[in-house]
C-alpha cells in the first residue's frame, strides 16, 4: 500500500467500526468455522452475557442458536470457485445485540441446485406452530439418519423452537452455479 492507500484503508476501518456500532454488532467473523472457533465464540458470548447479567434463559437460547448456526456453516457451506484458497466450510458469522433482542446471522456460499430443497425446508419450519415443530423434530430424530457430515436437518427446527421466531433468510446470486445464503435468527431479551 502506498501512502494514500494506507489513509484510504484506515478510513475504511473507521467506517467499518462505525457501521458495526450502528448495527450493534458485538461479534463478526469471516473464515473457516472449526470446532475450536465454535467453542471460542460461544464461550466469549457466554461470558459477555454473564457479565451483563443477561437473563439465564436468554443466555441459553443464544448459546443454542449460535452452536447450531456455526455447525450449519461448518458442515454445509459449499466452496466457491475452483481456486485452492476458497474452500468449503467457511462463511460469515455475526452476533448483534439490540435493546430488545439478539440477532445471530450467518452467510455462506451454497450451490444453486440445493436452494429449492433448502427453501422448502425453511418454509415448512416457518409454517409450523410450537406443537407442529415439536412433532417435526421428533419425526426427524426418529427417521432422519445422520448424514455423513453429521447434520440431521434438526438444527433449523431447533432454532425455530428455541427462539419462537420465524427464520428470516435470503439468497443472493453469485454466479450461474452458486448463491450466497443468509440467515438471521432473533432471540428476544424479554424472555
Amino acid at each position: 500500500m502506498d501512502k494514500s492507500n494506507v489513509k484510504g484503508f484506515l478510513e475504511f476501518v473507521y467506517d467499518f467500526y462505525r457501521s458495526m456500532k450502528a448495527h450493534e454488532i458485538t461479534l463478526v467473523y469471516e473464515g473457516e468455522i472449526t470446532h475450536q472457533i465454535t467453542k471460542a465464540f460461544t464461550s466469549l458470548t457466554e461470558s459477555n452475557m454473564a457479565k451483563e447479567s443477561e437473563d439465564n434463559s436468554v443466555q441459553k437460547k443464544v448459546f443454542h442458536v449460535m452452536v447450531e448456526c456455526l455447525q450449519n456453516i461448518s458442515k454445509h457451506a459449499d466452496s466457491f470457485g475452483s481456486d485452492d484458497f476458497l474452500f468449503a466450510g467457511r462463511g460469515i458469522f455475526m452476533v448483534s445485540k439490540g435493546k430488545k433482542d439478539y440477532h445471530v446471522t450467518t452467510g455462506n456460499v451454497i450451490e444453486n441446485d440445493k436452494i429449492e430443497e433448502l427453501t422448502e425446508m425453511l418454509n415448512q419450519i416457518n409454517s409450523l406452530d410450537k406443537e407442529g415443530l415439536k412433532q417435526l423434530y421428533k419425526n426427524q430424530m426418529k427417521e432422519g439418519r445422520l448424514s455423513e457430515k453429521g447434520g440431521a436437518g434438526l438444527g433449523f427446527i431447533d432454532i425455530a423452537r428455541k427462539t419462537g421466531n420465524k427464520l428470516e433468510y435470503h439468497f443472493l446470486p453469485i454466479d450461474e452455479g452458486s448463491s450466497f445464503f443468509l440467515l438471521t435468527s432473533s432471540i428476544s431479551r424479554n424472555a
Partner: protein
Amino acid sequence: MEVIKLKGTDDTPTIILDKDNGIFEISGRSLPEDVTTFYEPVLNWLEDYQDEANDKTVFAFKLVYFNTASSKLILDILMKLEEMHENGKEVVIKWFFPDDDEDMEEAGEEYADIVDIPFEQVSYTM
C-alpha cells in the same frame, strides 16, 4: 465387563458405565466435534452389556446442554436400552433437569414419548 469412565469437558459429557457398581450415567454438556465417533464406544458397550445385563439397570441422564447432533445419538442410546427392556430386563431411565430449565424437561418428555421404557423425570436445583 470393562468400565467406561470419561471425565466431562466443556463440550463432552461425563460418562460412567459401570456394571459391577450399577452406575450408568451421562451428564454435563454434549456438543462433541464428531458425535458419531464420540458415542460409538458407548453404543458398543451397551451392545455387549445387553447379553449380561444386571437384573435392574437405572440409566441416568443429567445433561445441562446438548446440541441437535447429540440429540440423535441420545435417542440411539435410549433405543438400545429399549431393546433390553423388550428382552425382559428391567430398565429405568432417570432424566434429570434443572428446575428452571423447561427445554430440558420437555426434551425428556419427548424422548419418553418416542421410546417405550419406564421413564422418570427428576428436577433438581443447580
